[in-house]
């Protein structure tokens, strides 16, 4: 029967991450548990919601007894969290109970047998890719905000991940705005272009695992699942079975009105004008003329905001409405100082990019105001 000891600091991070996968409302009681497995000097912690599965790996320095059992994830985490930083924690199975003890604290938890714990079936054939974590993190961060949440078009409730020789691209859209980011990845060994849709939850959980360091993440792409491993984790997510919309077609090419402005300044004037926009729909009007941008907003109480800022623009006047949150989301993920807007008319989308980086592009459809 399972029996092991380790330092709290070794346990807390993997346990937190693994518990993050566990859903609060569960269909099967065992799904609110975390699976603990000890083999030789390795402890594996697993959490699953049947769509995503996360396994954390900890090397034990103390001798341990092998075994496997499941305990309530939230309670186990709360206990570990509540113990002092330098605690040594012992976990021991006692027939159907699991005893967690540390110093003079002792907790007896219920358990469910490890055999009841479901595992996501893994595709046997897969292709393997190796991507630097920092790059992968950048691709996710630049686009994940645009994923739909609970759309009927279920293929939008996730992110398109595209792997082609030497390049990785992510695209996310909720049907009203779109974010796309590409990164060159040296020696990405793929013979042909592959595109899959990773579900929203899979992306959010995966992003939490990335450290942003030099280390690489191994991606195993099967027909129905994606698995990602680092030295500490093994993460599996089901893929969304569907066809991602043709995004190339909606990236505007014909825009003739190019505006360049300071990102921070634009961010603050949009937020300022938005105070008096409709709280629910968040519409603002952009009125562009040579050298000037006026942002106007009004709400159902007929209150009005008007904010003017200097921008780098030469051309005819244009008035176009947008959901200000869509614009702010974009300005928040861009890191450069200057941003570029390319517009054409009040019914056509805006193309927004970081002035110094056109490997990431954002498309926002207007609002008729």
């Amino acid at each position: 029967m399972i029996h092991f000891s380790l330092a709290r600091e070794q346990l807390i991070k993997p346990l937190q991450l693994v518990s993050g996968v566990v859903e609060k409302r569960q269909t099967l009681p065992v799904l609110s548990n975390v699976l603990l497995e000890v083999e030789a000097t390795e402890l594996l912690l697993t959490g699953t919601d049947l769509e995503v599965e996360l396994v954390g790996r900890v090397t034990l320095s103390e001798p341990a007894e092998a075994g496997a059992i499941t305990v309530p994830a939230k309670k186990f985490l709360d206990i570990v969290r509540s113990l002092p930083d330098d605690s040594i924690i012992t976990v021991k199975q006692d027939s159907e109970r699991v005893i967690v003890s540390s110093g003079r604290s002792k907790f007896t938890l219920t358990s469910l047998p490890a055999v009841e714990f479901p595992s996501i079936e893994k595709s046997s054939d897969h292709e393997e890719y190796s991507i630097p974590q920092a790059q992968f993190g950048h691709l996710i961060n630049a686009t994940s905000f645009a994923m739909a949440q609970q759309d009927v078009r279920y293929y939008l409730n996730g992110m398109s991940l595209e792997l082609s020789p030497g390049m990785v691209r992510t695209v996310a859209t909720d049907g009203h705005r779109l974010a796309m980011s590409s990164r060159q990845v040296e020696g990405l060994n793929t013979a042909e272009k592959k595109q899959v849709i990773v579900p929203r939850k899979g992306i959010l959980e995966l992003n939490r695992l990335l450290t942003g360091g030099e280390e690489t993440i191994q991606i195993y792409l099967g027909s129905t699942h994606l698995r990602a491993t680092t030295s500490d984790f093994s993460f599996t997510t089901k893929l969304v079975d569907g066809k991602f919309p043709d995004y190339e077609r909606v990236i505007p090419r014909g825009g003739d009105k190019e505006v360049v402005g300071d990102r921070q300044t634009l961010k603050s004037i949009f937020s300022r004008a938005a105070i008096l926009s409709n709280e629910k729909y968040r519409g603002v009007r952009l009125i562009l003329s040579s050298g000037n941008l006026i942002v106007k907003a009004n709400n159902p109480e007929q209150e009005e905001a008007e904010v003017t800022v200097e921008v780098d623009y030469e051309g005819p006047e244009l008035e176009v409405g947008f959901n200000v949150n869509y614009l702010l989301d974009v300005l928040n993920v861009i890191s450069g100082e200057q941003v570029k807007f390319i517009l054409s008319d009040a019914n056509s989308s805006a193309l927004i990019t970081d002035f110094d980086d056109d490997a990431t592009a954002f498309v926002v459809m207007p609002m008729r105001l």
Binding site: T27, Q150, D151, V152, G175, H176, G321, M365, M367
Partner: protein
């Protein structure tokens, strides 16, 4: 500004139209519903109600209670066209009409100059016009908002009128049972009763922070209703809030596999209807299960629209697993937070927003 709202509710609408069109039915217990042994009544007249027959009651149970009950097949085309006729009467007096169903509507008559601006006289006039032009009776409630007007129309039913004038609101509320508040069902009222809250007067004793503490999001709503406050405009959002499909089995089902097959069938139908309507963002999905005992359970989650999600919902329904299932329904709830004015990247995929 003090608003003037009239709520009009037709008395036993479908049954009344059957009596109107088939004189031999008059004065007899009449219901409208399917003819099958397991069909449920859509409505019934007051004669039938004397026997304990109620709308939504299975036909067989109704027949047991009232053997002389005449169950007429529904004639929805007639009900719809008469409903339009009634709406055209409303439109003579105000443009602000919010139909709730074929037989019920709110009218905002705040700016009406008819009858010297008296909403009471206007309500009486509309009732009389409907009776003479359409041939059925309606009940009306007059109050300063939708919530009180709706309670008022039920007060002197049938063929009645009741007014909750602003001066009388406080007295009216003190003794008003909380169950009368639209939105408080049996379960909720039982919960309130267990806390010694039976009337709006009782509810008024509770502070807003305490109501929020006990009832969460419903707290502010309860606080307002207890005080007769309801700022919802007449006209409603006009947005579609949900779409669902259900099926009553010809025999109760206990076998989970049969139910899952039915869920598959319903799911395909639902997808078909959603595709026809075009797409819109969803807030969640739900499953409705009615058991042999008529107990009905609705389980709702903010999960994606997949067959698996509905199957999972079916598994969530842990209680009553042993009991037979009479009806299964599945549906989606829409997220109306995206305005019509927002343009789409792929307009052809959602040109018909719901």
């Amino acid at each position: 500004m003090q608003r003037k709202i009239i709520h009009i509710d037709c008395d036993c609408y479908y049954a009344a139209l059957e009596e109107r069109d088939f004189p031999h039915l008059r004065g007899k217990p009449v219901a409208v519903g399917g003819q099958g042994p397991r069909s449920v009544l859509a409505t019934c007249n007051y004669e039938a109600r004397k026997f304990g027959v109620r709308s939504a009651m299975p036909g067989r149970m109704a027949k047991n209670r009232c053997p002389s009950l005449i169950v007429q097949p529904a004639r929805f085309e007639v009900y719809r066209s008469v409903s339009e006729q009634i709406r055209s009467i409303f439109s003579r007096y105000t443009e602000l009409v919010e139909p709730l169903s074929l037989d019920e509507a709110y009218l905002d008559v705040t700016d009406s100059t008819w009858f010297g601006g008296s909403a009471t006289l206007l309500a009486e006039h509309i009732r009389a016009e409907i009776f003479s032009e359409v041939g059925i009776t309606v009940s009306a409630g007059v109050a300063g908002n939708k919530y009180l007007a709706k309670i008022a129309s039920d007060w002197n039913k049938p063929n009645g009128l009741f007014i909750v004038s602003p001066a009388k609101v406080d007295d009216f509320l003190v003794t008003l049972p909380v169950r009368k508040i639209s939105g408080i069902g049996q379960k909720f009222s039982e919960k309130l009763a267990s806390m010694n809250i039976n009337t709006c007067g009782d509810l008024q004793q509770w502070s807003l922070p305490r109501l929020v503490e006990f009832f969460g999001k419903s707290g502010p709503w309860l606080y307002q209703r207890a005080r007769g406050v309801d700022d919802r405009p007449v006209g409603g959002s006009g947005e579609r809030k949900s779409l669902s499909i259900e099926h009553t089995f010809s025999q109760d089902r206990v076998n989970a596999q049969q139910c899952e097959q039915e869920i598959l069938r319903l799911y395909e139908k639902l997808r078909e209807r959603l595709n026809k309507k075009g797409s819109a963002p969803l807030k969640g999905i739900f499953l409705k299960v009615r058991y042999s005992s008529f107990k009905t359970q609705t389980i709702e989650r903010n999960w994606g629209l997949t067959l698996e999600s509905f199957q999972r919902l079916f598994q969530v329904r842990a209680e009553n697993v042993e009991e037979g299932i009479r009806l299964l329904g599945i549906g989606v709830r829409f997220d109306n937070s995206v305005p019509e004015a927002q343009l789409s990247l792929w307009p052809q995929e959602d040109s018909n927003r719901i």
